[in-house]
């Protein structure tokens, strides 16, 4: 690993290329993720945003190889430090799991085994990859629990998950994920099940630990606020595909895709104008069994009339650079999304911002 890193200095640490995760079912093929590409460097954070069924969790589980042994079909390339994870055999993949790549999950209560103590579960994660005595593992776990801010870590080592509060459990999950000093951490909705004041604590913790260990983090969430505060890059997913991708500041201040506009407008901004309207995204999330033709978002899109002909319903737009420059990609037929956003969307969702301009 170390040697590879020196050899390919210019390669990004993680590179996902045209990732496809398809599940054959009795009703047909579910294309949960259909051609996803992105790159991520150490110490950087990628925020993947999307609703349930957008493929954001499925694609990240694929990095960890969690679909192995199921009937899912995974295609494409996932290069971690130049090694294609999809080409590894199961034993090789297992050596990376929990060591180089770790994951924390949405609901820390169900993600821990109810019958084993928190300490033993974390120690297990350590001893899988390190040949150490139980005693040495215990010391290491207690250090780790202390690092993530669990009071009295030597006592709490022997507690069971149900004896922890929600926030403490998520801290313990983070300790479990980071105990082998992984270079890539995937956080799947890490704060969705937590209260806001605890969410702030956990996000602080993740950020501090990232700084300390120079970890690459993929944070999966439906909350644009979390992405805005945590991520360097944002990737918006809809119906298994990336629909917008770029630096967070670009994507959230100059969004180019009507779905991103919809997400921004349907959540009232707590610090914004109290008189701002909530503009819903009409319709329902698409079925992955028979996704809409053309652009998957077209049945819910209110800006279709600005695209000539029936392009939206017949042709899938490519993920290409928008008018604002090379690194901000969008998947939309609209020719000039920037002016629509500034002139039609902003005045509706944030009248105070519109006046400032």
């Amino acid at each position: 690993m170390e040697q590879n890193a020196h050899m390919d200095e210019k390669q990004p640490f993680l590179k996902v290329e045209n990732l496809k995760v398809h599940f054959p079912t009795q009703d047909g093929l579910v294309k949960a993720t259909d051609g996803l590409s992105y790159a991520l460097d150490r110490g950087q954070t990628l925020g993947i945003v999307g609703e349930s069924g957008s493929g954001k969790s499925v694609s990240s589980s694929a990095i960890l190889g969690l679909h192995r042994g199921t009937n899912a079909k995974v295609e494409g390339r996932i290069l971690l430090d130049g090694v294609d994870l999809l080409a590894l055999n199961n034993a090789e993949m297992r050596k990376l799991r929990g060591k180089e790549i770790a994951m924390i999950f949405q609901d820390p209560l169900s993600a821990m085994h109810p019958y084993y103590t928190v300490g033993n579960q974390i120690a297990e994660a350590y001893r899988v990859h390190h040949k150490v005595s139980k005693k040495a593992a215990r010391t290491r776990v207690i250090d780790m629990l202390e690092l993530v801010g669990i009071p009295q870590p030597d006592v709490r080592f022997d507690s069971y998950p149900h004896q922890f509060s929600g926030g403490m459990r998520q801290r313990a999950m983070i300790a479990m994920a980071l105990i082998n000093d992984p270079s890539l951490l995937i956080a799947d909705e890490p704060t969705t099940a937590l209260d806001v004041t605890v969410q702030a604590q956990i996000l602080d913790l993740l950020q501090n630990l990232q700084r300390e260990f120079n970890t690459a983090i993929i944070i999966i969430t439906h909350d644009l606020g979390v992405v805005a505060e945590m991520a360097d890059e944002a990737l918006v997913m809809y119906a298994g595909r990336a629909v917008e991708h770029g630096r967070v500041k670009e994507v959230l201040t100059h969004p180019q895709m009507p779905y991103t506009w919809g997400l921004l407008s349907s959540v009232p901004d707590i610090t914004g104008d109290p008189n701002a309207r909530m503009v819903p995204v009409p319709g329902n999330p698409p079925s992955l069994l028979s996704p809409p033709t053309g652009c998957a978002f077209h049945p819910r899109c209110v800006h279709r009339d600005k695209v000539p002909g029936d392009l939206c319903t017949t042709e899938l737009p490519d993920l290409v650079p928008g008018p604002r420059g090379g690194l901000h990609l969008k998947r939309c037929h609209l020719a000039d999304p920037e002016s629509i956003y500034q002139n039609e969307v902003i005045p509706e969702i944030a009248p105070d911002l519109a006046e400032e301009r």
Binding site: L96, R97, G98, S110, A111, H113, Y115, H162, M176
Partner: protein, 338 residues
């Protein structure tokens, strides 16, 4: 936790009291004349009256029940009527606590009857439970981890097929073919450990226990399969995989422990029920266990024996339930109390 167990025991005792009362009332609601049946076919009116007095049938039901309950706590002497006891001291039978009654039909206390018959039922139940648990869980896990494969379908289908055959058919099949026609095994006669040693005891139990186990096998295979599949879909299994554990550790250390917990409940209840006697199996193999005793005594309207068996069988079930609940607290830390 011991307070919890104590509370369960108290509730269990109350339950058994209610059980004996209900059995009493049911039997007295029956049209048969208890004393006449107990006395025999050619009884004069006077003899019936004597029998009635000896067994206390002349008294109202609640008094009989109270006497019974007192016997359980402190023991009793039979005949119940004091005048009769004094008239013929040589016929007095002392029944030590916990006295379950005296069977005129067998001419013995119910306690000594049960002492004779129960070991056979218990032996059968113990060997059967070991057999069906071992094979049921093993096949269930095999089916679960190969879900959808030919092996899975084969296991589920075959156990279901066996389940579809009634117990008496399988028992008779074993006796007629395996023993008599093919001569693969000796004809099973119950042999206590004291006489034949553990091996002699065990070899004679193979066939009847297997017959009994086959009844339960199918449901245990299906349950195990369902529980394992359910637990393999849990979030903590994903966590275990994400740690980098190999699939064996994921299955055995994380998957099975949660999956097998509900089986403990089922096993406890099924085993408790079986301890009270396996009527069909015991009848087919002519094994004199509690099941056979139940059949004989209820055909003979032998009230004291029937009440005694009901109470013993009930105690087994109640006891196994308490054991299961306590076992649960050891298995699942979330259930651990105080």
């Amino acid at each position: 936790m011991w307070a919890y167990a104590a509370r369960r025991v108290v509730i269990g005792i109350l339950l058994l009291l209610a059980l004996s009362l209900v059995t009493f009332i049911l039997f007295f609601a029956s049209p048969a004349d208890q004393a006449k049946l107990a006395c025999g076919k050619q009884c004069t009116q006077a003899q019936i009256a004597v029998t009635e007095k000896a067994l206390g049938y002349d008294k109202p039901v609640y008094e009989q029940w109270a006497g019974f309950a007192k016997g359980v706590v402190a023991g009793r002497d039979f005949p119940i009527d004091q005048a009769q006891r004094e008239a013929a001291p040589e016929t007095v039978t002392h029944c030590a606590a916990p006295c379950l009654g005296f069977s005129k039909y067998y001419g013995e206390t119910v306690n000594s009857l049960i002492k004779d018959y129960a070991p056979i039922s218990i032996s059968l139940a113990v060997v059967a439970v070991v057999l069906w648990l071992f094979f049921g869980v093993l096949l269930g896990i095999a089916a679960a981890v190969t879900k959808g494969s030919i092996l899975d379908r084969g296991i589920v289908g075959l156990t279901l097929l066996v389940y579809a055959f009634p117990t008496f058919f399988i028992g008779v099949f074993f006796l007629k073919y395996v023993v008599v026609k093919w001569g693969l095994l000796d004809y099973p006669y119950y042999t206590p450990i004291a006489e034949g040693g553990v091996w002699g005891w065990l070899t004679n139990l193979w066939l009847p226990s297997l017959t009994l186990a086959l009844v339960f096998l199918a449901s245990y295979v299906r349950m195990t399969r369902a529980f394992v599949l359910e637990s393999l879909g849990e979030d903590y299994i994903r966590t275990a995989k994400a740690k980098g554990l190999n699939s064996r550790a994921v299955l055995f250390k994380h998957g099975l422990r949660a999956a097998l917990t509900p089986l403990v409940t089922m096993t406890g209840i099924d085993f408790g029920t079986l301890l009270g006697g396996a009527i069909i199996t015991e009848s087919v193999f002519a094994y004199p266990g509690l099941g056979l005793l139940t059949v004989q005594s209820s055909q003979a309207w032998d009230l004291p024996t029937v009440v005694g068996i009901v109470l013993i069988a009930g105690s087994f079930v109640v006891l196994m339930n308490i054991i299961v609940d306590i076992a649960y607290a050891f298995i699942d830390p979330r259930v651990r109390l105080g």
